[in-house]
Symmetry: C2
Subunit: 338 residues, 2 copies
DNA sequence: CCTGGCACTCGCCCTGTCCGAGTGCCAAAC
DNA sequence: GTTTGGCACTCGGACAGGGCGAGTGCCAGG
């Protein structure tokens, strides 16, 4: 096990490197921190830390920089989440309080996170798996063409076109609409499939095809709707990444455009507790030089979605984690109130 | 006025510079193009072109590069919009055909444009101002509580809750729904107000309050939800910008995050005809080293929204314009069909 | 008006040198 | 055993100078 002082040295290295973005040497370390020992001692400690893989040298005779493993140790053992300052808290509150609807809450949260952390922010929309159906509407646009409108209790509306296999009369339509609604209104999305399973059977033979079509479109819509959306922002902060731009930034931008990747990224975070993925811990290869700090948020006890930030592995972990946690908590409150 | 050959020289310079990204000299020009004159002549022409401000030298004794003014002349007089290749057309069709709803159409359009042009794509959601009403639906959720659902010809759906001043019977509801639809279906949003103006009068006194309420909510929706949204994609293509990265790319990313800026940018484009804004022609200062190619698209004759791409001033204008136009046309078709 | 020739300019690249931060090791001190 | 100061060494970065070549402008002749 590493001695107390060596951990202290690692902490100092991480802090200095994050601040200066330059490899940090033994002399500079002793000058900037009160370690109470001489540079030579620090050098020995550094050699040990390097031996164990916590730090590395970009080239011989340069200072040391933390490795992913070093950052990992840092966030696990050495870093305290830094609470936000009073003004920052107030900024969060006043900024989020003026949101008018769900879209607005999410949009504002993204901006806020991006500003506070000066990194790329990612916010997942509250998941709909627990939503219920408020109403299903069917409209006849043409003899064999229907429109399905699905309204959820969260106020979201989805609509789909349906081409029917056979013309479908107004009375049949009204009938289907009524029966459909009586069965599914107020029920959870996940329960709908079995609730409508036997519906076609109760119709005339000639209409069964259409009814089945309508139902399958409905089920499809429910699945798609449950699919999780997200919003990102603060990509301009990527320009602060480093000097070796194009190569670093490009795969990150590409990854950020793949919602699937991001969803997986956030999804890996455990429910509600904060998760930090550092560098190569990220599965996606475009993100091996970035870290992801994510946490769940929700209106009640359980997390309904995740939010977080993506930044260089060389980031201010305590500050970032503090900001992410604070924002998540307040967004949860906002959602609970509305 | 510039002679025919000088214009030809300018065209050659633009083409070469776009291709190589390097200042182009007189000798290289005569080698790569059949101008039928010697380098010396070209040099004279270049001197003239520079005198007029169409081209410039980055430093003495380097080749020339086009100025914004040069690009302007190029797109106005020298460039023919390049039609897409067969495979490209087919790719557009098959890619867009599989879209399931409006969101999907827009999302796919963004990806498509970004891929085809290898630049940043911006697509505005079909605006509601020029849209027409496809259907208005009224649902009774509770004795004195209605839901209004508005469906536009572009496939967009908006919904609002209405608290009625008095209970409203099912028959009255059906009556209102029918009359409302018969008046406004197929009409433009802007025409709706006067079309429904006298509607309350034709109802029983006791229902008039509710009818008025419904109408005012409808009108409110038409106005409020004119708010325009957009989607962007292909930001990773920004990395192909140039070598002088951070400084160039940062303001662009920032501008792209400001929906307001982008909307204004697209808005400047004239109705339906393609607009190209080059470098400093863009009002926003973060975009002075970019060009914007935008065009309106719509389901019918007139444009309901804009789409376009943002790229470096040094872009392949004919190809980009071709792609933008082709995509806009096909998206228009898709919207018209659905 | 075009062309070939010519002298000139100037940025880029390559090389060599210097400098200093930082290291590792070691022997002495605590 | 750990810490410390000393010392030799390494290596990357900054800087300066020189050669190169693309490209130019100008001019005299076709």
């Amino acid at each position: 096990m590493l001695s107390e002082r060596r951990l202290e040295v690692l902490r100092a290295i991480v802090q200095d490197y994050v601040g200066t973005e330059e490899p940090v040497g033994s002399k500079a370390l002793t000058e900037r921190h009160q370690l109470g020992v001489s540079p030579a001692t620090v050098r020995n400690d550094m050699a040990a830390l390097e031996e164990e893989g916590f730090i590395a040298q970009p080239h011989t005779s340069a200072g040391r920089i933390p490795t992913d493993k070093g950052y990992r140790l840092f966030v696990d053992k050495l870093a305290a989440v830094k609470p936000l300052s009073g003004p920052e808290r107030r900024a969060i509150h006043s900024f989020l309080d003026s949101a008018v609807d769900l879209d607005d809450v999410v949009a504002r949260t993204v901006r806020l996170l991006a500003q506070l952390t000066r990194q790329v922010a990612v916010v997942q929309y509250p998941s709909l798996t627990r939503s219920t159906v408020r109403h299903v509407e069917l409209l006849s646009l043409a003899p064999a063409r229907l429109m399905l409108v699905l309204i959820t209790d969260t106020g979201r509306v989805e609509q789909r076109m349906i081409d029917c296999p056979a013309p479908f009369g107004e009375t049949s339509l009204a009938d289907l609409r009524a029966r459909l609604n009586s069965r599914v209104v107020g029920r959870r999305f996940t329960d709908v499939p079995q609730l409508v399973q036997d519906l076609p059977e109760s119709f005339e033979t000639e209409d069964r095809g259409t009814v089945s079509t309508v139902l399958s479109v409905l089920l499809e819509t429910l699945v798609e709707e449950t699919e999780e959306r997200l919003m990102i922002g603060g990509t301009a902060n990527l320009t602060r990444f480093g000097h070796d731009f194009p190569l670093t930034i490009r795969p990150v931008l590409e990854a950020l455009e793949e919602q699937v990747v991001l969803l997986k990224l956030l999804g890996e975070a455990k429910d509600s507790s904060m998760t930090v993925r550092i560098g190569h811990e990220n599965a996606h290869e475009g993100l091996t030089s970035t870290s992801v700090v994510a946490v769940g948020y929700g209106s009640g006890d359980e997390a309904v979605a995740k939010l977080g930030v993506v930044g260089p592995t060389r980031m201010d972990y305590p500050g970032t984690m503090g900001a992410v946690r604070a924002v998540a908590r307040y967004v949860g409150q906002i959602l609970a109130e509305s």
